[in-house]
């Protein structure tokens, strides 16, 4: 089966600066949810705007359901967009905002009203249909924006930082709602975020973008456990980075310590990343370490360890009760190390 959404060599330049989106290629199946993850200014919002037709591509192609939409203007693309600031029309009620896209499509009043009611019901806002945006909370406005985008039964739902304008307390709830709604409607969705926790929790596939280029596209777990590039290893999740040397296949030396690694590039200088949650501590182990700092984080505690090859972060259940000054033994599983040629 060929992909529902397919980007091939998508490029967008602004003036003489390096391309904002640089030969971006990726595929997404129907009904899946893709997160575009990256630091601010990495080109993820520009990519979303290219999908919506709000930016013109300098090169490359966008296929949606086999249709080439690359050169279509936004009004005929049928993409539901939820803008970061929602962009609700301030002079219209929630219901009028939702109806706007249906009016533009020439849908008759009777069906229009039925669909507006249905979509508002779906986002739980039936009671507030006659409110103006300024009479609603941020979370409610966000749902109106979502309802407005969904009402047109879009080929693609595009969300720009959908949770960034919400309070931290609201965020988790809205995140689950978006996920449930997207599953139920089966709408293929692309959303942009700089928050890796959001991307990992919400998406079927996460595309990490840096300086306009795709670094890696993978399901959340694979992305987290098996980052494909140093950038992804650094950007997604916590890790401690070391400069090392690959001595032989499966053998990495950091300082004077030789460690086993599951996968290694060709022998030579290397960058080594170790995830804190993969560090094992106990009375038995390969290396002597000392706890120098403990940061309590609720269920887990983040420990700073002095090891023979340098300072290393470890994440362990807080209940284990480690204290600064504790001298322990550490084991590093071979697949806890991600090694990249430097």
């Amino acid at each position: 089966m060929s992909a529902y959404l397919s980007l091939a060599g998508l490029t967008r330049r602004f003036g003489s600066a390096p391309p904002a989106v640089d030969r971006l290629s990726l595929d997404l199946d129907r009904g899946e949810l893709l997160a575009l993850l990256g630091p601010s200014g990495c080109g993820k919002t520009t990519t979303l705007r290219l999908l919506a037709g709000l930016e013109r591509a300098d090169a490359g192609r966008i296929l949606v359901g086999g249709r080439n939409v690359t050169d279509l203007p936004p009004e005929v693309r049928n993409m539901g967009v939820v803008f970061q600031s929602y962009a609700l029309f301030p002079h219209m009620t929630a219901a009028e905002n939702v109806a706007f896209g249906l009016e533009s499509r020439g849908i008759r009043r009777r069906e229009r009203e039925a669909r507006v009611a249905e979509v508002l019901e779906m986002v739980g806002l039936s009671a507030l249909a006659q409110r103006k945006p300024r009479q609603m909370s941020g979370g409610q406005q966000q749902r109106v924006a979502l309802a407005r985008a969904l009402a047109i039964r879009p080929d693609l739902l595009l969300l720009d930082e959908p949770l960034s304008a919400l309070d931290a307390q609201l965020r988790d709830g809205v995140r689950e709602e978006i996920r449930a709604l997207q599953r139920r409607l089966g709408t293929t969705t692309v959303f942009v975020t700089h928050d890796q926790a959001e991307a990992l929790a919400l998406a079927d596939l996460v595309a990490v973008i840096d300086r306009g280029r795709l670094e890696q596209i993978a399901p959340p777990e694979e992305l987290f456990e098996r980052p494909a590039t140093p950038f992804v290893a650094r950007f997604v999740g916590r890790s401690t980075a070391f400069a090392g040397v690959v001595e032989a296949p499966g053998r990495v030396r950091i300082g004077g310590t030789l460690l086993a690694a599951a996968e290694t590039p060709r022998p030579g200088p290397a960058e080594v990343f170790i995830r804190p949650h993969r560090v094992q501590l106990g009375a038995e182990g390969d290396l002597p370490v000392e706890v120098t700092l403990r940061t309590y984080e609720g269920a887990m505690a983040l420990l700073t360890l002095a090891t023979p090859f340098g300072t290393l972060l470890a994440e362990l259940p807080a209940a284990a009760g480690h204290r600064p000054g504790d001298r322990l033994r550490m084991t590093l599983p071979a697949d806890a190390l991600r090694v990249f040629a430097a």
Binding site: E75, E103, A149
Partner: protein
Amino acid sequence: MRGWLLAAPALLVIGLGFLLPVGVLFRISLNRTDEGGAMQADLTTETYARLLADDFIAGLAWDTVILAGGCAAAATLLALPLALVVRAAPPVWRGPLALAAIAPLMVSGTGRIVGWLAILGDFGIVNGALAMLGLPEQRLINNWTGVRIGLTESLMPYAVLVLLAGLGRLDPLFDEAAATLGAGRTRTFLRVTLPLAAPALLAAFALTLVLGISAFITPRLMGGGRVFVIATEIYDLALEMVDWPAAAALAMLLLVALAALLLLRSLLPGGQR
């Protein structure tokens, strides 16, 4: 207290330059003109009563309001596309474009009218072009047509200024949102741009209406002595007829009418924005 001190120079200017003359004017309007045409000190509202009962003055007031209303509406509608273009321009161009749109303010009113004479006069550019095309000559100056054209043009920069300041609610993002929802340019303009611009349009209309009603130079110079409005009548009363109480009373009536107009607008819904 300190705030008052900072406002003192402005208050002084307003007091000496506006309130004091208005007070003097009001005092004069209560005087009386005797049969010989000389002003006699008095305290009478007789002049007001006479002016308010005068059909000629009522006709002038009507003509003035119709002229100013039409020109204010035209200036506001012509200024809207200009303001929208300035807003939609890349940031680097916005300043220069806005400056260009209000550049007529930097030319003296008289200079501008001399320019219009060259364009609209019997041997001006427009009639020259019409003659070349074999079309009949149009009388575009020294009549109401000339005043309408000139007044509309002179009001436009003010309308642009007010619109540029007042279109803040018009985030370009709304255009993008409308486009993604399938709305073409016309629908977006009618359903989104225009309703959001309405308060600014109303403000621009109100200001240009007030300016148009009190306009003197344009009706005087482009009307060629054939166009009479309240402002030219005040001038004629004061300097031709030398009936100062009447001129002063008419000026006071105009002032009150304009103040009432602005007050009314600020009381209308959306007027406070």
